[in-house]
């Protein structure tokens, strides 16, 4: 996992709090670069704080490269496949029991309705125009990418 580290001005005061001061950009490293000035009593507090920050970051950030490299073991793959197919069987049983939708009745006077005046030419023209506008509007829908979707964590 990539992390950021900022040197800041943390060399002078070992008791300076990490979290309440956002201006100094104190984000934890893997714990390998420890500040030599920290007193032993502060180490556990610091470690706990660092761990919470690390956990929060891990929760909020999606590491895209990690997702690609993950592979499933053969037995785990088979287990999952079996699980999914049993679930599907249960669902398909309940679905097939639904009866097909019957035709609704639109009128009790079909001959009258069908013999009535046809849709006027003006109405057809108007509907065609509206449909053309709608088509034109839909064809103009596009994604407006404002910023990068994937960013790299880099150690400067």
């Amino acid at each position: 996992m990539g992390c950021c580290f900022s040197a800041g001005s943390n060399q002078d005061d070992p008791k300076k709090p990490l979290i309440p001061d956002p201006n100094l950009n104190k984000i934890p490293t893997n714990g390998s670069d420890r500040n030599a000035d920290s007193l032993p009593s502060n180490r556990t507090d610091e470690q706990a704080l660092l761990t919470t920050i690390l956990q929060r970051t891990a929760l909020n950030i999606i590491d895209v490269s990690a997702v690609i490299s993950q592979g499933l073991e053969q037995h785990e793959y088979m287990d999952r496949a079996r699980q999914y197919s049993t679930k599907l069987e249960v669902l398909s049983r309940t679905l097939s029991q639904k009866k097909p939708v019957s035709l609704p009745s639109l009128t009790s006077q079909p001959h009258q309705v069908l013999a009535a005046d046809l849709v006027s030419y003006a109405d057809v023209q108007q509907v065609s125009k509206i449909a053309a506008y709608a088509y034109s509007a839909i064809s103009q829908i596009k994604v407006d990418a404002k910023e990068e979707l994937v960013v790299q964590f880099a150690i400067p």
Binding site: L103, P104, L106, P110, A115, S120, A122
Partner: protein, 99 residues
């Protein structure tokens, strides 16, 4: 049975063919639509799709008649008593001439 269904359709002005279709298949056909199972199938699909449009979440479909309009003719479609009635009529309407 079919005469009761088709008598009214025969008398529709400028009709050039009709179909009466049920869930099982074509019950009656005449004129230009005689034995036209292909058109019957297409129209059944269109009507089932149209029945799925509901306005403001009401239960019934929001239309009484569906018209498929071509240059010179129209298919007028409605549903009554679990049967789909289709009539092919001449479309004589043109752009109104302003005198």
């Amino acid at each position: 049975m079919t005469t009761a269904l088709t008598q009214g359709l025969e008398r529709i002005p400028d009709q050039i063919g009709y179909l009466v279709i049920s869930e099982e298949g074509v019950l009656a056909s005449a004129g230009e639509l005689e034995n036209d199972e292909h058109t019957a199938g297409v129209i059944m699909q269109m009507v089932r799709t149209a029945c799925r449009f509901k306005l403001h979440g009401t239960a019934e479909p929001p239309f009484k008649r569906m018209s498929v309009m071509f240059e010179d003719y129209v298919y007028a479609v409605t549903i009554s008593g679990q049967k789909v009635f289709v009539v092919k009529r001449q479309n004589n309407q043109r752009e109104p001439v302003i005198v």
